[in-house]
């Protein structure tokens, strides 16, 4: 059984599924509120925004998935609402497919270089 010293949980992981062309806006917005780290992964998403029909050599086919970027931001619990607001504002277009943000609990963080643990590791 793993019990972190930091079991009262001071950190959250905020994951945002956004449109790929919003990554740079996201980064700038986060820097603006002093969040200095994130990790991006290319993804493809399926949701209400339903893809579209394409034609190739005369045959119709459906493209179900759309390109998305998946951003992860480790934050201090205190910053969660701030980050949600910042991310939402930075990437929102009001059109379907803007994406989701979800929050999960993080029990510990390690900065590999220094061995720092917990909230220290993301300062």
């Amino acid at each position: 059984m793993y019990y972190s010293k930091y079991r009262e949980v001071f950190m959250k992981l905020i994951t945002a599924i956004i449109k790929p062309d919003k990554v740079e806006a996201l980064r700038q917005a986060l820097t603006g509120v002093d969040i200095q780290g994130l990790t991006i992964v290319e993804a493809k998403g399926y949701g209400r925004q339903k893809g579209h029909t394409e034609l190739y050599r005369g045959a119709e086919y459906e493209v179900h998935f759309l390109p998305k970027s998946r951003a992860e931001i480790l934050v201090d619990s205190a910053d969660v609402e701030k980050v949600i607001t910042t991310v939402s504002e930075a990437v929102k277009s009001g059109k379907i497919g803007d994406g989701k943000i979800f929050v999960t609990e993080v029990q510990d963080v390690v900065r590999i270089r220094t061995g720092e643990r917990g909230a220290e590791a993301i300062k």
Partner: protein, 426 residues
């Protein structure tokens, strides 16, 4: 470069003085060089097919299609040397040649008389060989992504050693079709339809790629992985076609020949232009968007269509012949899909359909007789489909023809080759 033409002012016609003016040996050099030059261009078409096909398959089958292409060209070079050339051209009885010319001694290379249109036998051999290789190139693309590598290589040996040379002997070898007056300048039928028939046979026997046709009649297109490669291949083919058609004038030893070759080159080019423009406009009309892959096929179809008669005296007509080729190809592509014939690169549409059209066009606009042209076309199908079909079935029944489902899913590159095409590209 300064060019002031005294255009359209008829002066002394050359034809009368021609043979007196170019010495026999000079003509020999010209003719021979034409074969070498054109042969080298046509050889380059092997790369054109490789790239076109590598662009149209999925990443996981790319190394396999490249290997098939370099192998088929190599096998063609060897088989046409060992038996094909001889079957096609030496002691042709009307229905087939013999093996008496195999392993010919290059000491005889100069023995064809130079008084009249002489040329080096070796240069001619080279030129004929690269045509043979073209025919089998057509098959590899159509059957891609599911035919096993080794059976394909064995089929390539049979095609280049036996099938192509037999039909060739009926036509360019001087056999019964030539005697009947069949006219196919550079091989719309002899090369392209013959290849196309074998491709069609292969596609039918292999069946479509997994997932392409749903049981409900729904078609799931499988997009080619790399359009720049497909475009590269198409332009290389176009480039090589100047040798394919231009070299088929077979002589450069007089002003008349040089002029005729130039006209062939211009017609070849403008037919391809017509094919591209027609395919672009038609794809825009049919699909509301331009389909690049169809535009590329349109170029090939235009080229194939003009190949039977690029000696038309009217360039405008050549453009029309090419444009109709492009249109037929554009229409044939979805039709084949509806018939669940899965041709990965559009080879059947571009080579067989446009090849038939081009051969008929010689009977309409050119010097050919329509009925004889039709007989030649049918003869190709009647010869090639059963011969290649039986051979494919033999392969199927012995070493197997199609890869397993798992191999098809994971890709031929991993299963049959050691080398993935793009190991680092995710």
């Amino acid at each position: 470069m300064k060019k002031i033409l005294t255009f359209l002012i008829p002066t002394l016609l050359l034809s009368g003085v021609a043979s007196a003016e170019v010495s026999a040996e000079t003509a020999f050099v010209f003719n021979t060089f034409l074969f070498v030059f054109s042969g080298v261009l046509v050889m380059f078409m092997a790369l054109g097919f490789s790239m076109l096909e590598a662009g149209f398959v999925r990443k996981k089958n790319t190394s396999a299609i490249l290997l098939k292409n370099i192998a088929l060209y190599s096998v063609a070079g060897i088989m046409f040397y060992l038996i094909g050339y001889s079957l096609m051209y030496v002691d042709v009885s009307g229905w087939i040649g013999s093996l008496s010319g195999a392993f010919y001694d290059t000491a005889d290379d100069l023995t064809v008389a130079t008084e009249e249109g002489g040329y080096s036998l070796a240069s001619d051999w080279f030129f004929q060989m690269v045509f043979c290789a073209t025919a089998i190139s057509i098959v590899s693309g159509a059957c891609a992504e599911r035919i096993k590598v080794w059976p394909f290589i064995i089929f390539a040996a049979f095609m280049t050693g036996i099938i192509y040379p037999i039909y060739g002997s009926w036509t360019w070898g001087g056999g019964w079709l030539t005697e009947m007056g069949f006219s196919d300048f550079a091989g719309s039928t002899i090369v392209h339809s013959v290849g196309g028939w074998a491709a069609l046979t292969g596609c039918l026997i292999l069946g479509p790629r997994a997932g392409k046709y749903g049981s409900d009649g729904k078609i799931t297109p499988i997009a080619g992985a790399n359009m720049p490669l497909a475009c590269l291949g198409t332009f290389i083919l176009w480039f090589g076609w100047f040798g394919f058609n231009g070299g088929s004038q077979l002589a450069l030893g007089s002003a008349a020949d040089a002029s005729a070759m130039s006209i062939v080159v211009v017609n070849t080019n403008i037919a391809a232009c017509g094919g591209v423009v027609a395919a672009i406009i038609l794809s825009q009309l049919m699909y509301k968007k331009i389909d690049l892959s169809i535009a590329l096929n349109g170029a090939i179809a235009g080229l194939v269509a003009i190949t039977a008669g690029p000696d038309l005296s009217n360039h405008f007509l050549s453009m029309i012949v090419g444009a109709i080729g492009g249109i037929l190809c554009t229409i044939a592509i979805p039709m084949l899909d509806k018939m669940k014939i899965d041709d990965v690169v559009g080879a059947i549409s571009a080579h067989l359909v446009a090849g038939i059209w081009g051969t008929l066009a010689v009977g309409i606009f050119g010097s050919g007789d329509f009925l004889v042209q039709l007989i030649g076309i049918v003869a190709a199908g009647v010869l090639v489909v059963p011969l290649s079909g039986v051979f494919f079935y033999i392969l199927k029944g012995t070493i197997g023809l199609r890869v397993s489902e798992e191999t098809e899913a994971s890709g031929l590159d991993k299963a049959e080759l050691t080398t993935e095409a793009y190991p680092e590209f995710k």
